[in-house]
């Protein structure tokens, strides 16, 4: 068993970045995720593993530093919160367009605009639709605990390099600010230059040698037909991701008459709702999508059709509910319950909504 500590979700992101052997973190402070860089600055990984930590002059700069590191085949990441992520979206589409791996953490706060600094899940659309322009996807992992904040940093880098694509960890102020028990993984070594050449010299800028052509990392293509072929190619990659890497948690669904679909911190709250509902004789189950893209549509469709109705609880005005409705495709009623702007519902409030909208 690894080292067990009581830590904040944000602190754990930093700790996991060091321990998974990341090469670089580039960020800019913003509440409620500032502890990520604070922790890195305290830990000084440049003195131990050699990991680089840079406070950039802006989020735009951070994401472009990530682009630079990724283009060299390095394990690089950034983190921010909603308004900062909006600034990074141009970079995200360029990263996807250049087929570069990286990890981006969004500790979501209430919006729109500068909004509030309290927890929200209103960046669901932005995350699962990619955020920037053009035809591309971002793989999105939604942690529901401090332990998952830790584990998903490792998983996110694995997926980023498997598909050579940005991966986002979509968290929120609850998970970022909360302290829980976490078991930390053993320190992994960073890749050596030789290992990077061996694994990534087919595409990364690792230094051209006489026996190969130079690699050009770009997202610019002036020939529309070549761009079309490229887009077909990355969508084959996305189709493979949809086949191989959909993740979800199924909770008390076997006998469920009613289903809740919720992700991240909301799923935690809904588990308490389910305990209340079951104590009063209502058989309620939960599906927690862990990958928000690729979305567990098949699983939701399969479970939903055995129930009398689905409540989608999310801290926004109704975003994931669209994907659930597409999955369920009219088989049973699908309703949304949310709070927004940084307000967080309690288990009782979700239960009221469940009774009013679904159980009736």
């Amino acid at each position: 068993m690894g080292e067990v500590k009581l830590m904040k979700g944000n602190e754990v992101i930093a700790e996991a970045a060091i321990r998974c052997g990341a090469d670089g973190y580039f960020g800019y402070p913003i509440t409620p995720q500032s502890e990520v860089m604070e922790t890195l600055m305290e830990r000084k990984p440049w003195e131990t593993t050699g990991m680089v930590v840079v406070q950039a002059e802006s989020e735009v700069s951070s994401i472009n530093m990530v682009y630079g590191g990724a283009a060299c085949g390095k394990k690089v990441m950034t983190s921010s919160s909603s308004p900062g992520i909006s600034l990074m979206c141009e970079g995200l589409t360029y990263l996807a367009g250049a087929e570069l791996p990286c990890v981006v953490v969004n500790v979501t706060r209430g919006g729109p605009g500068l909004g509030t600094i309290q927890p929200a899940q209103s960046d669901y659309f932005q995350a699962v639709k990619g955020g920037g322009h053009g035809d591309y996807k971002v793989i999105v992992l939604a942690p529901a605990s401090v332990q998952e904040m830790h584990d998903f940093v490792f998983d996110a880098f694995d997926l980023a390099f498997k598909y050579r694509n940005p991966v986002m960890i979509l968290s929120d102020g609850v998970i970022g600010q909360m302290m829980e028990k976490v078991e930390l993984a053993e320190q992994r070594p960073r890749w050596t230059d030789e290992e990077i050449v061996k694994m990534h010299s087919s595409w990364a800028c690792t230094g051209k040698t006489a026996d190969r052509e130079g690699n050009i990392v770009t997202s610019l293509e002036l020939d529309p037909y070549a761009q079309e072929q490229f887009n077909y190619k990355i969508f084959e990659k996305y189709a493979r991701c949809e086949q191989e890497d959909v993740r979800f948690e199924e909770y008390m669904c076997d006998d469920a008459d009613y289903l809740i679909v919720a992700f991240g911190s909301s799923a935690r709250i809904c588990k308490a709702t389910i305990a209340q509902a079951r104590a009063e004789g209502y058989k309620v189950g939960l599906i927690r999508p862990i990958t928000l893209w690729p979305f567990p549509s098949k699983k939701i469709a399969e479970v939903a059709k055995r129930t009398k109705g689905v409540l989608v609880a999310e801290l926004n005005m109704g975003q994931m509910v669209d994907d659930v409705r597409l999955a369920v495709n009219g088989a049973v009623p699908v309703e949304h319950y949310g709070r927004t702007g940084g307000a967080v519902y309690t288990p009782d409030q979700v239960y009221e909504a469940l009774k009013n909208k679904i159980i009736k």
Binding site: L6, T31, I117, E180, R268, K271, V344, P347, Q349
Partner: protein, 184 residues
């Protein structure tokens, strides 16, 4: 066993660290714990609160509406959180600066004059550990040996010289807490 509590007061009173010591101790004793702060632009002088859950089962929701115990350290927090104590639950407060006292009859109400006692002891910084001691007397969910380790783990190394005084304050908190109303 499951204890859901909120600790609320002014920023700077040690509200968040009291919760952290309790959560750390609970974890060391083998319980599942969560610690969720209110966070905002407020710092010293503003309001602060933290929700702590200590349970022998995995913690589902870290967000709680009705609590087993609520500890309030100023008037605003008392006014705001008195309604959030479960019937039969506990409300613990320091009477210092309180003009409107709690009125509910269906909960246990305890007072702890920690501000005054700390002043007598000449160290206002023992306030929060004294409050924690009072709480642990009412709800002895964690053994003292784990509280001591939790306390040490929660404090930066430069503050370890204050450990004996803080441990003493925890014990003294247990001595001075007083039941003023028993739940009807």
């Amino acid at each position: 066993m499951k204890q859901e509590l909120i600790i609320a007061g002014f920023g700077g009173q040690g509200v968040l660290s009291t919760g952290k010591i309790l959560a750390y101790s609970g974890m060391l004793q083998g319980y599942e714990v969560s610690w969720l702060p209110s966070y905002g632009p407020e710092m010293r002088g503003g309001t602060a609160n933290v929700t702590v859950v200590v349970s022998d089962q995995p913690v589902s929701s870290p967000i709680v509406q009705m609590c087993d115990t609520i500890i309030v350290l100023n008037q605003q927090s008392l006014d705001k959180f008195e309604q959030n104590v479960r019937p039969g639950g506990n409300l613990i407060y320091d009477t210092n600066g309180i003009t409107h006292h709690p009125t509910r009859k269906d909960i246990n109400i305890y007072t702890i004059n920690a501000t005054e006692e700390c002043a007598k002891m000449g160290n206002a910084r023992l306030f929060n550990t004294m409050i924690l001691g009072g709480y642990l007397k009412v709800c002895p969910i964690v053994d003292m040996e784990y509280v001591k380790v939790g306390l040490k783990k929660s404090l930066p190394e430069r503050a370890w010289k204050t450990l004996p005084a803080n441990e003493q304050a925890i014990v003294h908190g247990g001595e001075i807490i007083t039941l003023v109303h028993k739940a009807e």
